[in-house]
């Protein structure tokens, strides 16, 4: 199978095609398709409950879709298990933290590095490598501390470091800035940009609109499990369907937490 050529002819590194997921009677995703190319940051936004996290679960293999497929660099990986996909280069962070609370920060990352050594044959010293990743994310200071006791924002950065340590080809970030303060947020933004410059493909779910608008080249808008808009930040911002989805939020544009009408 070959990957779909996207608009400007670059091949998508990762595609989700026509993904549908149902929970009982509720369709969390209906025929949702997204794609992300190498070196690109793609935003995925939408109100709470739109299905963003569910889509991430489908891409990384934690949930089998009722319909649709996941394609990595042209190869259909829909049937692969979570760990196989990870070894193929899909890494993610979690909206609700999934840190290894009983391990220290550096050990959280080290577990990832040690696993990577199994398929990535490059010579390395896991501990040093893990420390380097922590350094890159900016939390080397807490390397020895148990993650359970760390502030939420820092724990989020540990998750980010852990995902990076797998040396991914596609990185899925689920609300990376929640719990982070402003300076940490801008550091993460800088980091994501530099990762993309190195050729990583990043798919990002985020409620902080200025963060998204700043950093993303393209944005997908999800509502009720459907993709209702796709395009550049400018296009999406003025899209009437998007405005309608974020109902009553003209005053506070798209903060993601919709008030009851």
């Amino acid at each position: 199978m070959t990957g779909t050529m996207t608009g400007d002819g670059r091949r998508a590194r990762l595609e989700a095609r026509g993904v549908t997921v149902r929970f009982g009677g509720l369709a969390a995703l209906s025929d949702a398709s997204v794609d992300v190319r190498a070196g690109e940051v793609v935003g995925l936004i939408g109100p709470n409950g739109a299905g963003k996290t569910t889509l991430f679960d489908v891409i990384c293999g934690l949930r089998a879709p009722d319909a649709g497929s996941v394609v990595l660099e042209g190869a259909d990986i829909t049937g692969r298990s979570v760990h196989r996909r990870a070894r193929l280069g899909i890494a993610r962070t979690f909206q609700k933290l999934e840190v290894f609370g009983n391990l220290s920060a550096v050990d959280n990352v080290r577990v990832a590095v040690e696993m990577r050594r199994r398929w990535d044959r490059s010579p390395m010293r896991p501990l040093a490598e893990a420390a380097a990743v922590l350094e890159r994310v900016g939390i080397a200071a807490v390397a020895g501390e148990a993650v359970a006791g760390l502030p939420t924002g820092t724990a989020r950065l540990v998750e980010l470091a852990r995902a990076l340590a797998t040396n991914p080809r596609v990185l899925l970030l689920d609300e990376p800035s929640s719990g982070l303060d402003d300076s940490e947020t801008s550091e993460v933004a800088g980091l994501v940009r530099s990762l993309c410059d190195d050729g990583l493909a990043v798919l990002l779910v985020e409620h902080d609109m200025s963060f998204v608008m700043d950093i993303c080249e393209r944005i997908f808008v999800l509502d009720f499990g459907r993709i209702i808009a796709e395009g550049s930040p400018q296009d999406v911002r003025v899209d009437p369907a998007v405005q309608a989805a974020y109902l009553g939020t003209e005053a506070a544009p798209m903060n993601g937490h919709r008030q009851a009408p």
Binding site: S81, H83, V99, G101, N102, R110
Partner: protein, 754 residues
């Protein structure tokens, strides 16, 4: 029922299937289930045909089977429905259900038989007053505190309660034989229908179960409180917010559960005997029945229970097994439990968010150097003790040495749970089953030559048995795994160790020659053996300390903290779990071989499920993730024996179960484990542990009363705080929905009205 209400029920069911244990993948045609079921049916037919006893299939025989089977099944159903009510409303799975019933059956005996009260008065007092009160008390004192503990500890505390109740009953009613409770209306009270004798007792039993089924149905679907109870099932966090109401619901559930346990215990006492172990193990039947109902459906639970009762009677009446399988009817619930567990769909990896199980203070890992120093000190201590240079000089008498050996062997077997349960988070109640397999293998292969290679072989050959148990384990999580391990242990007890080919009951005398290592002869009870065991134990502890610091140790802990996240790093969760089960089985098998050397002769009783429970509990009380906790556990095991022997009071007679049971229940107050606490207190006096001193100072500062005017916000917002906040927010979400009346609230809250 109003359309609105039925809608709410429908929604609740949807939530049940989608969002709660067990996680299931929805396949339109459950092919695997169908294959397994038909395979089992064929197997059952083949086994029945092969073991057909030749009893004539007459109306009388079949009718008798049905009547007795239904009445037995009715009892299991009553007990199991108590289990289900408590589990669905409070989230705590009560392993002590059988033991509670056992206790109230004894109380009933005391009043009815020993004091000669009239049956109705004794019954009413026990079932309607004492048992519910006891349930409420349990809820208040223990169960409420369990809610925020990790599952491993929840399970251990209720198992502790089970063992404690056994100890209490054995203390209160000494001499566990010869008591009988007469059936209602005596043995002779019976009538005949179409040639089938029905005793009044059995008829009453069946009627009582039917009445209870009806009452529970009415309570849960009509009464206000019952509706509240079901609401708790739908949304525990929502109910938790309703403070007082939630407490009333929880107390009611425990009162009902306890009362149902009492009814079951009193009804079954005349059918079996008034014996602590027997009545306690009724809980296995209840587990199997509840598992058929997937722990939440009462009708299916009843169906499972009745099937079980009739199946047991079928085996007793129409089949005959040779000696090794003579327990087949007793093993049926175990088999059923296993079947259900195998039929359960694969547990899905699932992101759950950080859970409350995060320990705020993670212990610093011991390093190999420290551990070496520690075990060297231990060896010197044992050396001095066996040499008679320490107080308690009867130590070097043969009794003392034997106790020392018991301590070390127990500690070694306990060590097998440290990686499995402590690091990888896989609950197992079956360490003694593995130990038994190791002992048997050692006895068979090299026991009478005394070759030390036999020990290695015992470990190596027990390892595959661990893989066997990992089969259900890789598919299950939490509670179902714990149940599977219990079924596994009980199955080995009833069907494996009973085989003459495995342990020959007629073979007396020592099955183990003294061990010869490098020209030394070690008899299983000698001083040299104790010293050798100390060395072995020390080496294993140090090896585990190193393993915990290795990538396997980290991987296991990571998998325990989040299987989903571990998998997204490329960790093959199945492979990783199998590895830890294999390691654990090998260690237990090795320990079992050493145990065999000590006792000389193997018998079935040594490896029973119930014998193994105190061992598991004492390790957990010490702190299941710490190798040093095994020493704590070993010391305590022996300590209880010593106390009992030294002060020969009759009320101490059940101390070996009472002690561990109570310690495990008290653990609810100190989940980190005793060794961890002791270690934390002690570490700051070690010269090289500046970190411990700093941590201590920080703790003192944190516990200091805040100065007036000082805001309590200086503390960082931790992951655990986030859990609490998330929970509160989700509750707020549900409440924010207009007329919050159902389960799907969280899904729809942000949506504008269509």
């Amino acid at each position: 029922m109003s359309p609105n209400a039925s809608d709410a029920v429908g929604r609740a069911e949807r939530r049940d299937t989608a969002a709660d244990v067990p996680r299931r993948r929805r396949t339109p045609v459950p092919v695997r289930q169908a294959v397994v079921l038909s395979g089992l049916a064929v197997g059952a037919v083949v086994v029945s045909a092969a073991s057909w006893a030749g009893t004539p299939v007459t109306v009388g025989n079949v009718g008798g089977m049905v009547v007795v089977g239904l009445s037995l099944g009715a009892i299991y159903a009553v007990s199991a429905s108590g289990l289900v009510v408590v589990y669905t409303t409070t989230g705590v799975f009560n392993f002590a259900q059988g033991a509670v019933g056992m206790y109230w059956a004894f109380v009933y005996w005391e009043l009815r038989v020993n004091r000669g009260w009239p049956a109705p008065v004794a019954l009413a007092l026990v079932v309607l007053v004492l048992a519910p009160l006891g349930g409420v008390l349990l809820d208040r004192a223990v169960m409420r505190r369990l809610r925020n503990l990790p599952l491993v500890l929840q399970l251990m505390v209720t198992v502790g309660l089970m063992v404690a109740f056994m100890g209490i009953a054995a203390t209160q009613w000494q001499g566990d034989r010869g008591r009988t409770v007469l059936p209602f209306f005596g043995h002779t009270g019976s009538f005949e229908v179409i040639g089938v004798t029905v005793t009044w007792h059995r008829l009453i039993t069946i009627l009582v179960a039917a009445a209870i089924a009806l009452l529970l149905r009415l309570l849960l679907f009509r009464a206000r409180l019952g509706v509240a109870m079901r609401a708790v099932v739908d949304s525990r966090s929502l109910a938790a917010l309703n403070g007082a109401n939630g407490e009333a619901v929880s107390a009611t559930a425990w009162a009902i559960g306890s009362s149902l346990a009492a009814v079951a215990g009193i009804l079954i006492a005349p059918e079996s005997q008034l014996v602590v172990d027997v009545l306690t193990l009724v809980v296995i039947d209840a587990f199997a029945a509840a598992a058929v109902g997937r722990m939440r459906s009462l009708p299916w639970t009843f169906a499972g229970a009745l099937l079980l009762g009739v199946g047991q009677q079928f085996i007793r009446r129409f089949l005959s097994f040779d000696d090794g399988f003579a327990n087949m009817h007793e093993a049926l619930p175990t088999i059923l439990l296993f079947v259900v567990v195998i039929l359960l769909p694969q547990a899905q990896l699932r992101a759950r968010g950080v859970s409350a199980q995060l320990a705020r203070r993670t212990l610093r890992l011991t390093d190999v150097k420290e551990s070496t120093v520690g075990v060297a000190a231990l060896f010197m201590l044992v050396l001095a003790w066996t040499g008679g240079t320490l107080p308690f000089t009867d130590a070097w008498s043969s009794v003392g040495i034997n106790r020392g050996v018991t301590m070390m062997v127990t500690a070694i077997i306990m060590l097998s749970l440290v990686p499995l349960t402590g690091w990888a988070g896989q609950v197992s109640f079956a360490p003694l089953a593995f130990a038994g397999v190791g002992a048997v293998i050692f006895a068979k292969i090299t026991g009478d030559t005394g070759s030390a290679y036999g020990l290695v072989l015992a470990a190596a050959l027990t390892a595959p048995v661990g893989a066997l148990m990992a089969l259900p384990a890789v598919r299950l999580q939490g509670l179902y795994l714990a149940l599977a391990s219990m079924a596994f242990a009980r199955g080995f007890e009833l069907l494996f160790f009973t085989q003459t080919a495995v342990i020959d009951p007629n073979r007396g005398g020592r099955q183990f020659a003294p061990l010869s290592i490098g020209g030394w002869e070690l008899t299983g009870t000698g001083r040299g053996y104790l010293l050798a065991l100390t060395v072995v134990f020390g080496a294993m502890v140090t090896g585990l300390v190193a393993l915990r610091r290795s990538r396997w140790g980290r991987r296991w802990v990571a998998m325990k903290d989040s299987e989903a996240a571990a998998a997204t790093l490329g960790i093959n969760v199945i492979e990783t779990k199998v590895a830890v089960f294999v390691l654990s089985a090998a260690m237990a098998g090795f320990g079992g071989a050493l145990f065999g050397l000590q006792v000389g002769t193997l018998n079935v009783l040594q490896f029973e499920l119930l014998v193994g429970l105190p061992i598991v509990l004492l390790l957990v009380v010490g702190g299941v993730s710490l190798p040093a906790a095994a020493l704590f556990g070993g010391v305590n095991t022996v300590l209880f024996i010593v106390i009992k022997d030294r002060w020969d009071y009759s009320w101490l007679s059940a101390l070996e179960v009472l002690g561990p049971g109570i310690m495990a229940v008290v653990m609810v107050l100190n989940p980190a484990g005793a060794v961890a606490e002791i270690g934390r207190g002690f570490a700051r006096f070690l010269p090289w542990r500046a970190d411990a001193r700093a941590a201590y100072a920080a703790e003192v500062a944190a516990n200091r009363e805040p100065e007036p005017g000082e805001l309590g916000l200086s503390r960082p917002f931790t992951a655990a705080d986030m859990v609490a906040t998330e929970r509160a927010l989700s509750v707020a979400n549900e409440l924010a929905r207009p007329g919050h009346d159902g389960a799907a609230a969280a899904m729809t809250v942000e949506r504008p009205a269509p």
